[in-house]
Amino acid sequence: MALKTPLYDSHVEWRGRMVDFAGFMMPVSFEGIVAEHERVRSQVGFFDVSHMGEIEITGPAAEEFADYVVSNRVKKMVPGQICYTVCCNDGGHVLDDLLVYKHSAERVLMVVNAVNTKKIFKHLSALRRDGVRVDNRSGQIGQIAVQGPASRDLLLESEFCAPVREALRNLEYYRFLTFDYRGGEVILSRTGYTGELGYEIYLQAEKAGAVWDELLEGGRERGAAPIGLGARDTLRFEPAYCLYGHELDESISPLEAGLSWVVKLKKGDFIGREALLVEKENGPERKLIGLELKDRGIPRQGFPVLQEGKEVGRVTSGTFSPTLRKALALALVKRSLPQEAGGLAVDIRGKGVPAQRIPIPFYQSHVND
């Protein structure tokens, strides 16, 4: 059985192609992945991300607990700040990548991937100690992402954001504010998964439809339209943001996936720290690199990466990049593969298609615009 998000009816009305994703009926595309991708890069697009999980940690020891279960520093954050982080198992492998919103030392919100909501809720519930409450609020919260260069102006012009207009104008990347909307709390954060200026709105599920319609309607002149999961993936791929199940999973360490910047080994104890310390000492086995195909073909997840005919790794994500008009891949390869390694290829259904290593991110993000 697939669940419907509070915005399901809107997707059908907009003639979205619906697919089952992590147990939710989600739109994979509307007008076409490339057109939607370009809309977000040049104008503004709306994403239904209500399938994401929201787990709230509250109580006197909330901050302490959050700091112990994720790799980034939660204690050091100020109220209103957000961090990107991973939640590891004891082996230092990734259970999920997530955002942590710090309301206060006593209230922290974790936003997790839809596929992992149950797993992370169980994991956190099992670790729960005195002074900590762990609540899965996923079913009650709707989430809308408004992404693209016109996103700020669109929101500033809206009635919905009127109570926080000035604060929104000055809201910095990875910060959030809260306000009341018709008796329910709204979280408005400057975050996203596209590499563009953008915002994410969390609100009571039953109010999500009205807000979605109002903002989308108000933004029509700025080019606002709904965007499906297909473009969400190509948009995150170009700035090389990790996607759970691709660049991250329970067999991959954050150090391999290029996320050492969210692993704070000096902050004190946290789950997975010991394993990660050892791994850092010895050097991770693999590294995440970017590849550009030099011949025709599209690299896909799981395709072998070859050097002089020998397998040196696997593609984790690959697609035709709508912005760069090239076939590109992210791949996890042996760390010993030299920086300037030549003779690279991707095995596409038995055919070695020549590839060249190129720097990631493929696309320089505009999140600070």
Binding site: G230, D233, F320
Partner: protein, 128 residues
């Protein structure tokens, strides 16, 4: 949505016969399922193909599909325009977006393909 004068396959290719030559492409349903096509690989002119052999690859942003030959014969023309600009297939799958032309060896093979009516019925079942 799709031309009445064509024959169709379960794999969503269409075939239009002009004399002893079959023009082959993929249906509007197929382009819708695939989404934006970004890369097409086809056999060379002069190649021999057999009915229901995989003969090419259609890569879209999110997915990949094989092209099957609905007929047996020799490829007499390949649409170079769609190789250079695959989006033509999304825009115009039945005219500008044709794939190959095959000189038929055995026109009787066409009988096993779907008629327009049968394909419509088949698509109806797919939707259910």
């Amino acid at each position: 949505m799709f031309p009445e004068e064509c024959k169709y396959t379960k794999e969503h290719e269409w075939v239009f016969v002009e004399g002893d030559t079959a023009v082959i492409g993929i249906s509007d349903y197929a382009t819708g399922e695939l989404g934006d096509i970004v890369y097409i690989e086809l056999p060379d002119e002069g190649s021999q193909v057999h009915q229901m052999d995989p003969i090419g690859t259609i890569e879209a942003v999110k997915t990949v599909a094989e092209l099957f030959s609905p007929v047996t014969g020799e490829i007499v023309e390949v649409n170079e325009a769609i190789i250079a600009n695959p989006e033509i297939v999304n825009k115009d799958p039945y005219e500008e977006g044709w794939f190959i032309k095959v000189k038929l060896t055995d026109p009787e093979e066409l009988d096993v393909l779907f008629s327009h009516e049968e394909y419509a019925e088949f698509l109806g079942e797919q939707e259910e």
